[in-house]
């Protein structure tokens, strides 16, 4: 099996082949010997060895939780949560682009709450990381920021307004 695996910005070519009871997994050409065992539907116990370096002995417990979108996984290794988009080779690039949030940036509310401050107006130029809207939820004020620089094309909420999870608050282009 061959997969395109998108993590962050970088898509990796992953080729998986049976090798007796274990597996040979090539990631962008680097070959690993992997012994894999399931603990439950989401939990894997991997023993990983790099070809020619050592036997498959490094213990890597992994938990793989599926997201909403097809191919979207949250993979937990070494205590880290890595969002992964996986697809059989050939069909990754487009989904990858989408996941990477190209095009206009729609700032949405992470959870239901109340808009306590709107910090920008349409037409403003904003820096990456600049605060756009402050939403109060869970007894705390949360400043929602621009993920990238651009110009505010629209602001769809006013101060004091209640918003649902996922509601678009502003759009930056």
């Amino acid at each position: 099996m061959q997969y395109d695996v998108l993590i962050g910005e970088h898509t990796r070519k992953v080729v998986v082949q049976r090798a007796g009871a274990a597996w040979t997994v090539a990631v962008d050409g680097t070959v690993f010997d992997v012994d894999a065992a399931r603990v439950d539907g989401a939990t894997l116990s991997l023993l990983v060895g790099q070809r020619g370096v050592a036997g498959p002995s490094r213990s890597v417990p992994a938990v793989v939780v599926s997201g909403k979108m097809p191919g979207a996984l949250a993979v937990h290794v070494n205590g880290r949560q890595l969002p992964v988009t996986i697809s059989e080779s050939g069909r990754a690039r487009r989904r990858g682009a989408a996941a990477a949030g190209a095009g206009p940036q729609r700032l949405t509310a992470p959870m239901p709450g109340k808009v306590v401050r709107v910090l920008v107006a349409p037409g403003d130029d904003v820096e990456a990381g600049q605060g756009l809207v402050v939403v109060e939820a869970m007894k705390m004020e949360n400043e929602l920021r621009a993920a990238k620089a651009g110009r505010v094309v629209s602001v769809s909420v006013i101060e004091g307004q209640s918003v649902d999870a996922g509601a678009v608050l502003a759009v930056v282009e």
């Binding site: 599926s66 992470p110 869970m138």
Partner: protein, 508 residues
């Protein structure tokens, strides 16, 4: 006063904590729940559970009338308020008393008195305990800027503006020069007004590099007050404690004697009963100032339990029953080893600590020697958006601080929460910080560190991790893993989709 059936007017881990204490003492428990807490752990663990209203606290956990009504319907003879919600509300304490219910906490009068920061300051002064120089009377809207400026001169700059009814950093402003005072005053008053319904503020000298040190105490109804070895609570983010430990590296034995006996005299001064805590600012020169008194059981009480061997909730109940404190005051100021606590929140440290509500898909809690987990979370549970997002308190004990830290690091590594973001990566980072490990910190420590990191991700590691993740993802597909760990209750689509997108964007 009989305590045979306790209504717990709270939720989450502290409700679970109180249920466990009641179990130990053979006392029946009554849980209460808002709509979204129907299947919460405290509801499942209690002997009985009663609904108290919709999700917003004001309509459920803060409804004194409903809570008293449920207490009586259920035949409870006592009420434990936990912390937060109505724990420091004198009206609730009074309502319980009027309804013939034993309130497991201090008297309504003590709550009221110490609830006013200025009154509390006066009590401390009367007890001969130093306070931070400042104004002794509330400055409500009627006090003009000019008058406030005059008082400020007497105290000196920099100084702090604080809400009289305050807490949690709301209505708090630092003022470094007279010019800034009027604006800061306006801001602090309006913030205080909207947060506490009381816009009155007061002035206090600003201690530049203070530690936050506090002393737990217990008082019975026979005049006995016992003070415990101090807690070190300087590790705060935005004025919210995130890591607490006991004892403090900054408190030598002689200072410990002074701050504990000072705490006890404040408590005696106001005839305090049950569990309470005296908070101090500790200056670099070793001088300490009374800050305020918390008239409740505190979130961080377990670190005191671990180093004293005393179950504070057991004693809250026994004191409420009228029992005499039999603890040896000399013994409980001598720490047995060292304890440290991390407050694990459903927040995304890599996203400006944004709340991360949602469904816990998988949960693996650490165990083994020296590790304690006080939590209200279970697999399958939804972390609601309406309440404090703390899901667990992880406590580690060691024979000394080094061992306690090592065990905490081990436990943090074992801890797995899937489905939502938590502050676990933040703590893994903090427990490797050389200044923290060396005990070189004050209350500004975390905010400064965070500023200097400029948003660098906590959930980080060798690039190799991404390779391993790619291998895991591919084999998960090959081995046909479950396509979703979702249970029958509502999925977490919006937050998770949002997080996914945010992460992808952040990684640009």
């Amino acid at each position: 006063m009989p305590v045979t059936k306790v209504l717990i007017a709270n939720r989450g881990e502290i409700a679970v904590r109180v249920i466990r204490a009641c179990r130990d003492l053979g006392i029946a428990t009554v849980a209460v729940y808002s709509e979204c807490d129907r299947a919460a752990l405290h509801v499942r663990m209690a002997d009985e559970a009663w609904p108290v209203g919709p999700n917003p606290p004001r309509e459920s956990y803060l409804r004194i009338d409903t809570l008293i009504d449920v207490a009586q319907k259920s035949g409870a003879d006592a009420v434990h308020p936990g912390y937060g919600f109505l724990a420091e509300n004198e009206d609730f304490a009074r309502a319980c008393r009027d309804a013939g219910l034993t309130f497991i906490g201090p008297s309504a009068e003590a709550i009221e008195l110490m609830g006013s920061k200025t009154a509390a300051r006066q009590a401390a002064i009367a007890a001969g305990v130093p306070v931070v120089p400042g104004t002794e009377t509330p400055l409500d809207a009627s006090v003009t800027d000019a008058e406030v400026l005059r008082m400020a001169e007497g105290i000196g700059y920099p100084l702090m503006l604080k809400a009289v009814a305050g807490g949690g950093g709301k209505g708090m402003r630092m003022v470094s020069s007279p010019a800034d005072l009027p604006g800061a005053l306006r801001a602090a008053r309006s913030e205080a007004g909207s947060a506490f319904g009381d816009s009155a503020v007061y002035l206090e000298r600003r201690i530049m590099h203070p530690r936050h040190i506090e002393v737990q105490l217990l008082g019975d109804h026979h005049g006995t007050v016992v003070a415990f070895v101090e807690r070190e609570c300087s590790i705060q983010r935005r004025h919210q404690k995130v890591i607490e430990e006991s004892p403090s590296l900054a408190v030598p034995v002689d200072l410990r004697r002074r701050i504990t006996s000072a705490a006890a005299s404040v408590a005696r001064q106001v005839g305090y009963t049950n569990a309470g805590t005296i908070e101090y600012l500790l200056d670099e020169d070793g001088s300490f100032y009374f800050l305020e008194m918390n008239t409740r059981l505190q979130v961080e009480h377990p670190v005191t339990e671990m180093v004293s061997g005393v179950d504070l909730v057991h004693w809250q109940i026994r004191i409420a029953r009228g029992e005499r404190l039999t603890l040896d005051p000399e013994a409980v100021i001598v720490p047995r080893g060292h304890a440290i606590e991390c407050r694990i929140y459903a927040e995304d440290p890599d996203n400006n600590f944004l709340p991360s509500p949602g469904r816990i898909l998988k949960l693996r809690v650490p165990h083994g020697p020296g590790v304690r987990d006080d939590s209200g979370a279970t697999e399958g549970l939804e972390v609601p958006i309406f309440y404090d997002p703390m899901i667990s308190k992880l406590i580690a004990w060691g024979d000394d601080r080094t061992q306690a830290l090592a065990r905490m690091r081990r436990a943090l590594r074992e801890y797995e929460v899937h489905g939502i973001k938590t502050t676990l990566p933040f703590f893994r980072w903090a427990l490797d910080d050389p200044d923290f490990l060396a005990g070189r910190f004050d209350t500004t420590f975390i905010d400064q560190k965070l500023a200097s990191r400029a948003g660098a991700p906590f959930d980080t590691g060798p690039a190799n991790d991404e390779t391993l993740a790619a291998i895991a993802a591919a084999l998960h597909q090959v081995l046909g893993g479950q396509t979703a760990e979702r249970g029958p209750t509502a999925p977490v689509a919006p937050p998770s989709r949002w997080r996914q997108q945010a992460r992808a964007e952040a990684s640009r």
